[in-house]
């Protein structure tokens, strides 16, 4: 009984042996060709990609420098403004009408 079961299980495992491969529908190749043309898949050569990468890094660098300058400028402005505020205040405080 157990031997019979073992045989059956093994036969199940081997059931795809010597089977033919299933084929897709014949029109599939033309569908694939259509899709390739539709999507206009084109190869981007590595040299082009390299130029793009260099340009992107350059833009990023310029933007980073601009940001650093902007932040520094903002800080300076703030310092100047607070100094002027204190200066003006003291002037007003020391102003006396005779």
């Amino acid at each position: 009984m157990d031997e019979e079961k073992e045989k059956w299980v093994e036969a199940i495992f081997q059931s795809m042996k010597d089977s033919r491969r299933a084929s897709p529908k014949p029109e599939l190749l033309s569908k694939i060709n259509e899709k390739i043309h539709f999507e206009q898949v084109d190869f981007v050569p590595f040299t082009k990609l390299r130029y793009g990468l260099v340009a992107a890094i350059f833009v990023l660098l310029v933007n980073s420098i601009a940001l650093v300058y902007y932040v520094q400028n903002q800080r300076l402005n703030y310092k100047e403004r607070t100094f002027m505020n204190v200066y003006n205040e003291s002037l007003i405080n020391s102003y006396q009408i005779y």
């Binding site: 795809m16 089977s19 599939l28």
Partner: protein, 185 residues
């Protein structure tokens, strides 16, 4: 007959005939593998289309470290697994439909005397994990040598053998549950 390298170079040059040659050589392998995962002809065709598009788009990335056959099988396995993952997201909504389709799957290329047994095999294959299923499909359905299966899965030969052992053990226990029913009928 063009060599692998010649076919690849011709595809890079945009030669449509080369793509047709590649299709003749690989479409059945791709379709058959995808069919083992999905068990639905239309889905397997969609995967086959996707695989050829990926080949066409990524042909420049093919490093020739592995054979073209290994590379294409790897794309097929990954595309099939991703397809199933996407499909399973909607499983809650159409659970019934998927189950009924998978139980009744009959592989069109199977020998007549093995038809019933192969249907049972496809029924229990779903109990396997992703990696076990891949190892089993490539070894037992595609009939690839273990080393090539290891190359496709980017793992060691030992790992593939262990995956197959575990897969067979799991499937065997599932089959033993079905066996008494079969005896009654």
């Amino acid at each position: 007959m063009k060599s692998e390298v010649e076919i690849i170079e011709a595809i890079i040059d945009g030669d449509e005939k080369a793509l047709a040659t590649l299709y003749t050589l690989y479409s059945e392998k791709i379709y058959n593998t995808a069919l083992s995962y999905t068990k639905i002809g239309e889905d397997a065709e969609e995967i086959t289309q996707d695989v050829f598009l990926k080949i066409f788009k990524n042909v420049l990335k093919f490093k020739r470290e592995s054979s073209l056959n290994t590379w294409i099988y790897r794309i097929t396995v990954n595309t099939s697994l991703n397809y199933l993952k996407k499909k399973n997201r909607f499983k809650i909504f159409n659970n019934r439909l998927i189950n009924s389709q998978s139980i009744d799957f009959h592989h069109p290329g199977v020998l007549l005397e093995n038809k019933e047994k192969a249907a049972i095999l496809y029924q229990v294959i779903d109990c396997l994990s992703k990696n076990q299923k891949t190892a089993f499909i490539l070894s037992y359905i595609e009939g690839l040598p273990r080393q090539e299966v290891a190359d496709i899965m980017e793992t060691s030969l030992k790992a593939v053998e262990s995956l197959l052992q575990r897969a067979k053990r799991k499937m065997k226990s599932e089959l033993e549950k079905i066996y008494p029913d079969r005896r009654k009928s």
